[in-house]
């Protein structure tokens, strides 16, 4: 365990932050600009995972396991969410025969 965290610490923290920030942004952009729901779901997963990476890095730098514990929580919750999300997508596909997010716009004004 000690070795892993010291191995992680070889790379400066800033790199992790930049990396996960970049990942987060990529996910964000994907959410914003993709119209396929599946792709968007994946982008949200990407954002979650960038957070996971960041947490892990901090956890290692702070020598505090709590961060990594939290990562597990996030993974579980994300799995549950994706399960729900995909079922919603399936349901939607049945109703509108499409996975384009902008097709769903009857609720407005």
């Amino acid at each position: 365990m000690k070795e892993i965290s010291s191995a992680i610490q070889i790379i400066p923290l800033d790199y992790y932050i930049v990396l996960s920030g970049t990942l987060f942004s990529i996910g964000l952009m994907g959410v914003l600009f993709r119209r396929n729901i599946i792709a968007i779901l994946m982008c949200i997963e990407l954002m979650f995972n960038s957070v996971n990476l960041l947490l892990t890095a901090f956890s290692a730098y702070h020598s505090d396991p709590a961060g990594q514990v939290f990562v597990f929580f996030i993974m579980i919750v994300a799995a549950a969410e994706v399960a729900v999300g995909l079922s919603i997508v399936v349901m939607m596909k049945r109703n509108v025969e499409s996975v384009d997010i902008n097709l769903l716009n009857r609720l407005k004004w």
Binding site: I101, N105, L107, K108, W109
Partner: protein, 633 residues
């Protein structure tokens, strides 16, 4: 002696009688038997008259100059204490006698005159109410009680002018009278308030007692007197508020006689005479009064020359005579003014009643162009009318001579130009009165389908009584020139303080009288030659007239001017306020706030596009803005 005091203290019964009459007639409605209303109405006033007459002698014998009877505290708050009280002194006694005396006669006359009217009960009820208010006016011991009567008579005048309410023109005249009176009343009430703040009381005796300490010409007194004067101008139909009186002739003729000739219109004169002490302290106001009085006297007389309606002629003559009274007031001759009020009450009431008798006989016709030759058909009316005409023209020894001569003398003492103008007015008066007389009673009957007949006794007896008073009324106040001792004037001495002026010599006085008599004779002759010898008849309305004639005929266009100056702008303003301000600015402004918010609401609502991409963008944008926000701050 105790009896006398009790009797005086019960003087509040005087106005109560007519009030009771009003209530009885008013509440019994149609239940009253025929003529009962008239009998009740007349007898209550007669009771008042008898009480007043007795009171007069009781006061005289007990040597009391004045008595105050307080009934209860009307308004008593803080330092304001206004009792509901009556003041009986010589001035109010005089007025009470005139009101109840002439009032009784006119009531009796009305029994005959209104005989055929279906609303005779209402008529008598309102007449009684009027008498009540008028008595309140002259008996009030302070300005506010006076004001009750003041407004009360205005109300009755309104009701009685519009007595035949089916006619919109009459209603309009009634409304006009009330509103113009109200304009005066506003000045009056403001005057009372200023008076209150100056003296901390509105009770006559207290005000006058304090006023003694004010020097002549004090601004506040001048202001008070001017404000009070505004009220008097309205009530007594002086320039510029006189236009309502001629229109007020829309009412039944006894109303014109009682209210618009004998009593109500003289309220202004009474009030100023009552406040003589204040007016004496305000020479500026007195000069204004002189100006107003003289101008009114002349203007109304000139208009009277060209009127064809018998009552309109008398109405302008009333305005003109009121102008003379104002002139007298302005000259500081208060008792003279009151004297003229008294004689005027006699002969003007007589004139109106006579005119009423004529109208009655002519079946409602009022146009003198269509009359004529009534002398033989209605002898009593003719003779009494003649007596009154001589009286108003100032022919000795008729009553008008004594009172008017006094005024002219005072004018002469003051300023010769005043005298000439006043005399001119008197001559014009004489001319149009004789024109009226000749056109109505002399010559041929011009309306063929009427069958004039003498009026019933109920109408003629008051005529005769009034004629007697008109003839001999002047002897109440025989000047020293004729060996009298000016009883009337000295009687009022205790209640009004006339400005002292040096007495003119008897020789001057004699000359003045002779001059005026000669001129009067000429005028009567001229009138005779025009209307009897040449039997010229006034032109019908449609025929062309000279410019001056047209102006006079149209009463100097005063009504039109007022219409353009006040009524039209008021109507315009009303429309403007309602359509352009209320409905176009204020209301939309408030609604506009609502509408604007609602518009904004629609905008917010439309922002909710329903599009997922947009929501995601909005959220990111929001987050970014907040990041920038917190980093900047």
């Amino acid at each position: 002696m105790v009896g006398a005091i009790t009797f005086i203290n019960l003087a509040w019964l005087v106005p109560v009688f007519p009030l009771l009459g009003f209530l009885i007639i008013g509440f019994s409605g149609k239940g009253l038997m025929h003529n009962m209303a008239g009998i009740i109405g007349s007898s209550t006033i007669l009771l008042s008259f008898l009480y007043t007459a007795t009171l007069f002698f009781v006061m005289k014998s007990s040597g009391q100059d004045s008595a105050t009877i307080t009934l209860f505290n009307w308004i008593a708050i803080g330092s304001m204490n206004i009792p509901f009280a009556f003041l009986i002194d010589h001035l109010s006694l005089t007025m009470m006698l005139v009101i109840t005396g002439v009032g009784t006669l006119i009531h009796i006359y009305s029994i005959g005159y209104m005989h055929h009217d279906e609303r005779v009960n209402t008529f008598f009820a309102q007449m009684n109410l009027f008498t009540f208010s008028m008595l309140l006016l002259v008996m009030g011991a302070n300005y506010l009680v006076l004001f009750i009567g003041w407004e009360g008579v205005g109300l009755c005048s309104y009701l009685l002018i519009g007595f035949w309410f089916k006619n919109p023109a009459y209603n309009y005249a009634a409304r006009k009278a009330f509103i113009i009176n109200r304009i005066g009343d506003l000045g009056f009430i403001l005057g009372i308030i200023l008076l209150f703040f100056t003296f901390k009381t509105v009770t006559f005796s207290e005000v006058f007692a304090q006023a003694a300490s004010f020097p002549t010409g004090t601004t506040v007194i001048t202001l008070i007197t001017i404000l009070l004067l505004v009220g008097a101008v309205g009530k007594s139909a002086q320039i510029p508020l006189f236009t309502w009186l001629p229109d007020a002739m829309a009412g039944p003729t006894p109303v014109s006689a009682l209210i618009h000739a004998a009593t109500m219109v003289t309220a202004g004169i009474y009030m100023i005479a009552r406040s003589s002490i204040l007016y004496n302290l305000a020479p500026i106001t007195l000069n204004i009064i002189i100006g107003i009085g003289l101008a009114t006297a002349l203007m109304a007389a000139i208009i009277g020359l060209k009127q064809n309606d018998i009552k309109k002629v008398l109405a302008y003559s009333t305005v003109s005579q009121l102008g003379y009274m104002f002139l007298a007031l302005g000259l500081g001759a208060y008792s003279t003014a009151v004297f003229h009020v008294t004689t005027h009450a006699f002969f003007k009431a007589l004139l109106f009643l006579g005119a009423g008798s004529v109208i009655h006989a002519m079946g409602g016709e009022q146009d003198i162009m269509k009359m004529g030759g009534l002398k033989s058909k209605m002898p009593i009316t003719y003779w009494t009318f003649l007596a009154a005409t001589l009286a108003i023209s100032g022919i000795p020894p008729f009553s008008g001579f004594f009172s008017k001569d006094l005024i002219l003398n005072k004018a002469f003492e003051h300023n010769i130009i005043l005298y000439i103008l006043a005399l001119g007015g008197a001559l014009i008066t004489c001319f149009y009165m004789f024109r009226l007389l000749y056109l109505v009673f002399f010559g041929e009957q011009r309306l063929t389908n009427a069958h004039p007949h003498e009026s019933p006794q109920a109408m003629t007896i008051p005529l005769i009584v009034l004629a007697v008073l008109s003839v001999f009324g002047g002897f109440l106040n025989v000047p020293s020139l004729f060996g009298g001792n000016s009883n009337f004037g000295s009687f009022l001495q205790s209640a009004t303080t006339s400005l002292s002026m040096e007495e003119m010599s008897h020789s001057t006085e004699t000359i003045l009288i002779l001059v005026s008599l000669a001129l009067l004779g000429l005028v009567i002759y001229f009138a005779y030659s025009t209307f009897v010898t040449r039997s010229s008849v006034p032109k019908a309305d449609s025929e062309p007239m000279s410019f001056f004639g047209k102006v006079v005929y149209n009463k100097f266009y005063i009504d039109e001017i007022y219409d353009a100056l006040f009524e039209k702008p008021l109507g315009f303003l009303s429309d403007f306020f309602f359509n352009k301000v209320e409905n176009a600015v204020l209301d939309p402004a408030v609604d506009g706030i609502g509408t604007l918010t609602a518009r904004f609401g629609t905008l917010v609502r439309k922002l909710q596009q329903g599009n997922m991409s947009f929501y995601l963008f909005a959220m990111v944008a929001g987050i970014l803005l907040f990041i920038i926000f917190i980093l900047i701050i």
